[in-house]
């Protein structure tokens, strides 16, 4: 293999694939990045067996070939090279990759590309076309609530349902649920219902740029995998096996009070409360006060107490429709929900101190967030 490539392009490509490298795997080759020539371009791949990322970059190919090199060494080196042309030259008898740029020359010991796990041949039949901007927003609004608890693998994923021209993403960690639905430009004929690891979606949202415009998603039959394709990038992820708990059933069908409040003011109040709440059990108390009379204001009082550091109390003007209630939430959950809401106003629906609270952006029906309160004992 003999290839000339722009340092900038190589560094960008490595930035994309290196997130899938598995540095502490028992399989040494998984700590490597595969480099191969592929129809006039250079292909870079990395995988941790759960997620695999491949990226193609423009290159000048003099001689075909492939190898794998330790990701850390290669990535750090390329980032340190002067921003100019980089010449990659593989000595296949010793499996050593010579990396030359300007006056710098380096030899990196590789492992034969044959040992790298084979990448799936994409089968894009029945693929779903997703708008990149919509996809990124959906992931941003949903994936963060997915659990990190390996005891409940199903909750470490995002449930993705595609039905006709509608796509829904849902994730929950046992204490909160985030659901986002949006329309597809092109309908699907067959209903899709899969659980994708939250990490795969988050990675994909990070990689996808606006210039990609469209993400193609395919679920090849019987492989337990999902493949996403962008212009120059492909991401393959294992699906999570199992049944996602029935989330519809826990979305409250009614409420006793609905509080309309400025998203920014509510978020600010939560951030202040969190400064004190985080010292203890993360609890913020919400005292939702309906108007006392016709011309009286209604408000919501957010407060947090820390035994050590002190306390906070913020009153935010709100339109309270219904009964007053005092309810406590993990303020981090509340803050994180408000941070992904784009509308100027938000509605908080509550029924009782021990019943779930629902947060909805006002004027945007596609998103809802359910948070279980905390029991104050």
């Amino acid at each position: 293999m003999k290839v000339t490539i722009l340092q900038e392009n190589l560094a960008r490509g490595l930035g994309i694939v290196s997130r899938a490298v598995s540095p502490r795997s028992s399989l040494p080759v998984l700590a490597n990045i595969m480099i191969a020539t592929d129809e006039g371009r250079l292909q870079l791949s990395a995988t941790n067996l759960e997620i695999g990322i491949t990226c193609w970059i423009q290159a000048q190919i003099e001689e075909e070939g492939s190898t794998t090199v330790p990701a850390r060494t290669f990535v750090d080196l390329v980032n340190a090279l002067p921003g100019d042309k980089v010449l990659l030259n593989l000595d296949s008898s010793t499996e050593t990759l010579n990396v030359r740029s300007g006056t710098s020359t380096n030899d990196i010991k590789g492992i034969d590309a044959q040992e790298f796990p084979p990448l799936p041949v994409p089968d894009m039949d029945g693929a779903v076309q997703l708008n990149v901007a919509d996809f990124k927003e959906m992931v941003h609004q949903v994936a963060f609530v997915a659990s990190t608890d390996e005891a409940r693998p199903v909750l470490m994923g995002v449930l993705v349902i595609v039905d006709k021209d509608q796509i829904t993403m849902a994730a929950a960690d046992g204490f909160r649920l985030s659901v986002r639905t949006t329309k597809l430009d092109v309908s699907v004929t067959e209903k899709i219902n899969i659980i994708i690891p939250a990490r795969a979606l988050t990675e994909l949202a990070r990689i996808a740029s606006e210039s990609d415009k469209v993400i193609t998603m395919a679920i090849p039959k019987g492989r337990g995998q999902v493949i996403f394709r962008l212009n120059d990038v492909e991401l393959v992820s294992q699906l999570i096996d199992g049944t996602f708990p029935d989330y519809q059933q826990i979305i409250p069908q009614s409420y006793k009070s609905r509080t309309l409040i400025s998203t920014a003011s509510f978020l600010k109040a939560c951030k202040q409360a969190e400064i004190f709440a985080r010292e203890g059990t993360n609890v913020a108390r919400l005292d939702i006060k309906p108007a006392k009379g016709e011309m009286e204001p209604s408000e919501i009082e957010i407060s947090a107490v820390s035994e050590e550091t002190g306390k906070n109390e913020t009153i935010v003007e709100a339109t309270v429709d219904g009964d007053g209630v005092i309810i406590a939430f993990n303020v981090k959950y509340l803050r994180e929900a408000l941070e992904v809401i784009n509308t100027p106003n938000v509605a908080l629906e509550t029924s009782a101190a021990n019943a779930p609270g629902v947060v909805r952006p006002v004027g945007e029906d596609g998103f809802l967030h359910v948070i279980m309160p905390m029991h104050l004992g």
């Binding site: 046992g174 204490f175 826990i250 993990n330 905390m374 029991h375 004992g377």
Partner: protein, 386 residues
């Protein structure tokens, strides 16, 4: 409501600490105090020195005249405070109702504990001796006054030059009877002056005081006479005042003989977890860190802990966590001398509710009902079947 108060007094505390530091002192006549040329006094003296008539608060010069070979050791208060702290920590394992009255003395309200007072006392004495190498005497009675006098009586009754390790229990209702033959000076507040005045009135024993009409005592001694009359009957309703902020709740058991049987050990752990859970709930507390303590027959002691995502005061969660910790450090069939379970990281029992009501939530509701029943009808009112 009847109470059970335990008074613990370390025997010749400073000397015992010095002996631990320097075993060559064991069985020797020595005293802890200021330097002899500085006109210091004896702060504490060994039981061997007591045989010569050496006493606490005696000028060292006099002590040396009584016992010419007396070894004098300068006080090292930092060390005594350290040892005292370890003793108090031992007491807090038993209950959070501990009132420290001096460096070597404390009251414990053990009314809520289920074990018999005698077993508690023996366990405490053994634990403090085995773990800290310190001898102690204990008095148990229905109030603070009686418990303290019981300890004194026990210590006085001990003979020989060894620490007394006394244990004296005054049964409920026998207070006045217990006090009657004791000299009036053993009553709180009766010093040499009052003692002399009492003698003038023909009063020598506490029983004599008790037989005097209260009005007469008030006439003679003012308000103090009222207290004297009450105390002479063995009555005292001052509570045990604890300043200690509860930092942990734990429970441990020392087996009368080492246990190897997995089933019995697991059963002890389950019982201890239940007791810890009950005490947490009673105080409206919950904790995030579960601790397991284990002592092997060679006295090597290990503790292991795990922190849970949410505070708990539930028997089941404490038990399951403790059993997991036990599995990590104990091989099946390995002999155990002591086992303990504790919960720290205490706070209000705030808990995050879950979207899908899990088993633990149902368990909690069941426990709430069971606890109510137990509070009403006693701990044996309802038990888990097999």
């Amino acid at each position: 409501m009847s109470r059970t108060i335990l008074h613990l007094d370390l025997d010749a505390f400073f000397c015992a600490v010095e002996e631990n530091k320097n075993p060559a002192l064991r069985n020797k006549a020595f005293a802890v105090g200021g330097k002899p040329n500085e006109r210091g006094v004896v702060a504490s003296c060994s039981y061997a020195a007591r045989k010569f008539g050496v006493r606490s608060a005696m000028p060292i010069s006099r002590a040396l005249r009584l016992c010419p070979g007396l070894i004098i050791i300068s006080s090292r208060h930092a060390q005594y405070s350290e040892a005292s702290k370890s003793v108090m920590e031992h007491l807090y394992i038993l209950t959070s109702w501990v009132e420290k009255i001096s460096i070597d003395e404390a009251f414990l309200d053990i009314s809520e504990l289920t074990e018999s007072p005698e077993r508690i006392a023996l366990g405490l004495q053994a634990g403090i001796r085995d773990e800290l190498g310190l001898p102690s005497s204990i008095g148990i009675a229905s109030n603070k006054l009686m418990a303290k006098i019981a300890t004194e009586v026990g210590k006085k009754g001990a003979k020989g030059d060894k620490p007394p390790f006394a244990l004296t229990i005054v049964p409920q209702g026998k207070e006045a009877q217990f006090l009657a033959p004791l000299p009036a000076e053993m009553l709180w507040g009766v010093g040499p002056k009052t003692g002399a005045r009492l003698k003038g009135l023909g009063i020598g024993t506490i029983g004599d005081i008790a037989s005097w009409p209260e009005e007469e005592l008030i006439r003679q001694f003012g308000e103090y006479g009222r207290d004297m009359a009450k105390h002479a009957q063995g009555r005292d309703d001052r509570p045990v005042v604890t300043e200690h902020e509860i930092k942990s709740i734990s429970q441990e058991v020392t087996f009368s003989s080492d246990i190897r049987d997995d089933k019995s050990i697991n059963k002890s752990l389950v019982d201890l977890s239940a007791q810890v859970g009950r005490r947490l709930r009673k105080k409206s507390l919950a904790g995030t860190t579960i601790k397991l303590k284990i002592r092997w027959p060679d006295f090597k002691t290990l503790t292991r802990q795990t922190t849970l995502p949410n505070p708990t005061n539930q028997e089941k969660e404490i038990k399951e966590t403790a059993l997991k910790l036990l599995k990590k450090i104990r091989k099946s069939g390995q002999a155990v001398r002591l086992i303990g379970v504790g919960v720290t990281g205490l706070g209000k029992p705030i808990r995050q509710l879950e979207l899908w009501q899990p088993e633990s939530e149902k368990e909690r509701k069941l426990q709430e009902v069971l606890n109510e029943l137990k509070d009403k009808f006693g701990v044996n009112a309802i038990k888990q079947g097999n």
